[in-house]
């Protein structure tokens, strides 16, 4: 079977360039379209987390022409987690996504004039699926089959969904617009996993990396949740890709790629400055020493592009507070973000006392929603800002000084967070263990979680394939023996790997002192580490070798595990009649057992014969365990009042009643 990943000759050069910039080749575009279809299946048009109210209200305010929020269009009120008072006005957060979503709100309003929004959602999903099928037909050189099969399938699915359709809640435009922005961002996680691995390995491994990122991690669960996590993940992978591309100065667009990495970080800062800072630190530490050239010209291009990319954030800050450097949730003002703030608020939630007295009519999403009070900032504007009061109209020079000063302050806070993370590792390794390996019952989490103390999985329980990372031990051992331990021939570490490792270490240390907390479901604060871990996994020689050699075993095990395993699991859960916490822990134990298989194989590091096949089998099971959990959690545990965007999924959710 021949594979044709290149664009058609009939595609115009301009269009081809635009397509290549975003998706690389046709396979990248296919991954994008299929990801969109998958996230359409898990999409629920409801609020999962309280923090999203803040962003939706911010978007509502922006649509009505102001940055400060005065009307609580969504949620219990305006003071939801992340909202900040400044000078008597209440501001939202993540303004980058709010601005990105604004055109979509207008689009939705326009579409609503001519069509029923629910049918629009169904039609968009069906047409995306049709496009994906046709594209797959071209790539695999099976145009005829794909055209007919795809058309028939899409026609059937469209009819089915229209037949089952119910009206969409009319007031939710802002939420839906935000969700679309995040879904598109999430689809690029798979695309950049593919493009990044494609730079370093063959196509098959790159495709498998995209498959693992999408199906073996909680990506589909978070895709449609208006939270920054998936966007940070997409940016990290895109930056890693840009680093790989830009290391060879002879290559076309090398400097541009390098600049693009900084531009993406600058834009991420508009969404979430502290996380952008972590990416920036890892990027600068690796990029500057390893760049093909650091002459004045390329530094000017890169630095200039970065400064320009910061303009949206600075302009928003200026509009908000009259000072481009004062963010309501500014890094300089103290802890970089309420999310990251470290304080002594470990006391019990004042609301917790009444938690169990509710009746069945309480909407389900409050279970996760109420928990995120955590993110309410305790940081007040103030001391740090006072010093700047005199500069009511700062000249350029002062602005430059202020930029440098604020950069140092941010770095100091960052360093502090890192050291707090390190001390947490040494003082409370048990809590780190709860976040990364086995969740179980965590008293500290349970005290704040009002009715779903155990609805939190650990990192490994959410993505059991990550256990394969222990293959680093046999891989390193093999290398060490090959080099004979001679330090003169120290193996060369590619810059992109260095970036990924530095980022992963800094990012974990920054957040680890906060964890475990409630309302995480799958340790969402650490979400960007999932794609990074999958990247590391497919890069390891033993894992790469079995994926190359035994990918069929992997594919078959995964399919069987998903199709048969999920049904067996369903029967088991019906018989066990668990509460939601118990169901979560059941999934957790199942995932850990598959992680055990993966880990056991990875420790041997053997890739030939039965052992290699076993490795592929274990990775297939681990991936299936993760996908099955995602299926159950989106259809049943967090169905959010059966608010699924696609009518057929909603009907499935209505039929299933487990917890």
């Amino acid at each position: 079977m021949s594979v044709r990943p290149g664009w058609d000759d009939s595609t115009s050069p301009l269009r081809r360039r635009a397509l290549s910039l975003l998706w690389g080749d046709r396979i990248g575009l296919l991954i994008f379209l299929l990801s969109l279809c998958l996230f359409g299946l898990t999409w629920r048009t409801a609020f999962l987390i309280n923090d999203s109210y803040t962003i939706a209200n911010g978007l509502y305010a922006l649509e009505h022409g102001s940055l400060d929020m005065t009307t609580a269009a969504y949620g219990p009120g305006l003071e939801t987690p992340g909202a900040e008072w400044y000078d008597g006005e209440l501001f939202s957060r993540n303004y980058g996504v709010i601005f990105a979503a604004l055109p979509l709100v207008y689009l939705l309003r326009a579409l609503e004039l001519v069509a029923d929004l629910r049918i629009v959602v169904v039609a968009a999903w069906c047409l995306t699926l049709l496009a994906a099928t046709l594209l797959a037909g071209r790539i695999l050189d099976r145009r005829r089959t794909a055209t007919y099969a795809g058309s028939v399938a899409v026609f059937g699915l469209f009819s089915l969904n229209v037949a089952l359709a119910t009206p969409l809640d009319p007031v939710q435009h802002h939420l839906i617009a935000l969700q679309i922005v995040h879904v598109v961002g999430a689809a690029f996680v798979g695309v950049f996993a593919y493009r990044l691995v494609r730079e370093l390995h063959d196509r098959r491994r790159a495709v498998l990396a995209a498959v693992l990122v999408t199906l073996a991690t909680p990506l589909p669960f978070w895709a449609a949740v208006p939270k920054r996590h998936v966007l940070t993940a997409a940016v990290v992978l895109a930056v890693a890709f840009a680093i790989t591309r830009s290391r060879n100065g002879e290559r076309a667009y090398a400097t541009e790629s390098r600049a693009l990495a900084y531009v993406l970080v600058g834009l991420l800062a508009w969404v979430h400055a502290p996380e952008a800072l972590v990416v920036l630190v890892a990027l600068v530490v690796v990029d500057v020493p390893s760049a093909p050239a650091n002459d004045a010209r390329s530094l000017a291009v890169v630095g200039g592009a970065f400064l320009v990319s910061l303009v949206p954030m600075l302009a928003t800050n200026f509009a908000l507070t009259g000072d481009p450097l004062t963010v309501p949730r500014a890094l300089r003002n103290a802890p970089p973000d309420a999310d990251l703030a470290i304080d002594g608020r470990s006391g019990s939630n004042p609301d917790a006392a009444g938690g169990d007295t509710q009746t069945d009519t309480v909407p389900e999403h409050s279970a996760a929603g109420n928990e995120s009070n955590e993110e309410t900032s305790t940081v007040t504007e103030g001391s740090a800002r006072d010093g700047r009061e005199g500069w009511s109209t700062p000249p350029i020079l002062l602005l430059g000084f202020a930029l440098v000063e604020s950069a140092f302050e941010a770095l100091a806070t960052f360093g502090e967070l890192l050291s707090q993370g390190l001390s947490k590792l040494s003082t409370r390794p048990d809590q780190v263990y709860h976040s990364f390996v086995r969740s179980g019952y965590v008293d500290r989490v349970a005290r704040r979680a009002q009715d779903a103390p155990s609805a939190n999985l650990s990192f490994l329980e959410s993505a059991p394939v990550v256990a394969g990372l222990v293959a680093v031990i046999p891989a390193a051992w093999t290398r060490l023996r090959a080099y004979g331990g001679s330090s003169r021939l120290r193996p060369h570490i590619p810059p992109v790997d260095a970036f990924v490792v530095v980022f992963a270490v800094c990012y974990s240390l920054v957040y680890v002192s906060r964890l475990p907390v409630h309302a995480q479901v799958t340790v969402r604060y650490l979400f960007p580490l999932y794609p990074v871990a999958v990247y590391g996994l497919v890069r390891l020689p033993p894992v790469g070798a079995i994926l190359d050699r035994h990918w069929r075993t992997f594919a078959w095990t995964y399919s069987a595990g998903l199709l048969v395993g999920s049904q067996l699991l369903f029967v088991a859960l019906v018989l066990l009649t668990p509460g939601r916490g118990e169901a979560f822990q059941f999934h957790a134990l199942l995932a850990l057992s598959t992680a055990g298989l993966v880990g056991a194989w990875a420790l041997t590091g053997r890739t030939v014969g039965k052992c290699g096949q076993f490795g592929a089998l274990s990775i297939g099971f681990a991936t299936a365990a993760a996908t099955t959990f995602l299926l159950f959690v989106t259809v049943e545990y967090f169905a959010l009042g059966d608010s699924h965007a696609l009518p057929m999924v909603r009907v499935l959710a209505e039929l299933v009643d487990l917890v």
Partner: protein, 162 residues
């Protein structure tokens, strides 16, 4: 080649046409019908043979979930002479813990005969459960046209096990 193209454009056209037809601009058909939510709009029923559980349980969660669960067996009763949609409620409470939970069922003529009321497994914070047993009560209410009637009530012992 042309057939292929025709099929694809046919499907796309159909999808777009259906979408447009659904909209307020054309407004020929409404594909999205809101599901009929059962609502209390009066009615009455004769309920007999109410049987309530004699004991309930607080048990520790399985699979390492840690939290405790409140288990209440089903209540059974017989429904007859249904008019409209009266409402049946099943309530369980442990006054000492300030714990109360209830389910409501809309009853229609189709439900005539034996009927079961159930409360789902409900998680409760382990730190709140300090005694070996508690006094609780289970109650069944019927809300009909005029009033809310307490059909049956029973004091039960809540055993803390596991």
């Amino acid at each position: 080649m042309n057939t292929e193209r025709g099929v694809v454009y046919g499907v796309i056209g159909l999808v777009l046409a259906t979408t447009l037809v659904s909209g307020p601009l054309v407004g020929v058909v409404d594909f999205t019908t809101a599901p009929e939510r059962a609502s209390f709009d009066g009615g009455d029923a004769t309920v007999t043979d109410v049987s309530l559980p004699s004991s309930t349980e607080i048990t520790s969660g399985r699979f390492g979930s840690g939290e405790n669960y409140v288990l209440v067996p089903d209540a059974t009763l017989t429904v007859a002479n249904v008019t409209g949609t009266p409402l049946l409620a099943y309530q369980f409470s442990i006054p000492a813990l300030g714990y109360s939970r209830s389910t409501t069922h809309f009853v229609t003529a189709a439900d005539t005969g034996a009927y079961g009321l159930s409360l789902e497994r409900d998680a409760i914070e382990p730190s709140r459960v300090e005694s070996r047993s508690y006094d609780g009560s289970v109650t069944v209410f019927l809300r009909s046209n005029e009033s809310e009637r307490r059909l049956a009530e029973r004091n039960v012992t809540v055993e803390v096990t596991g």
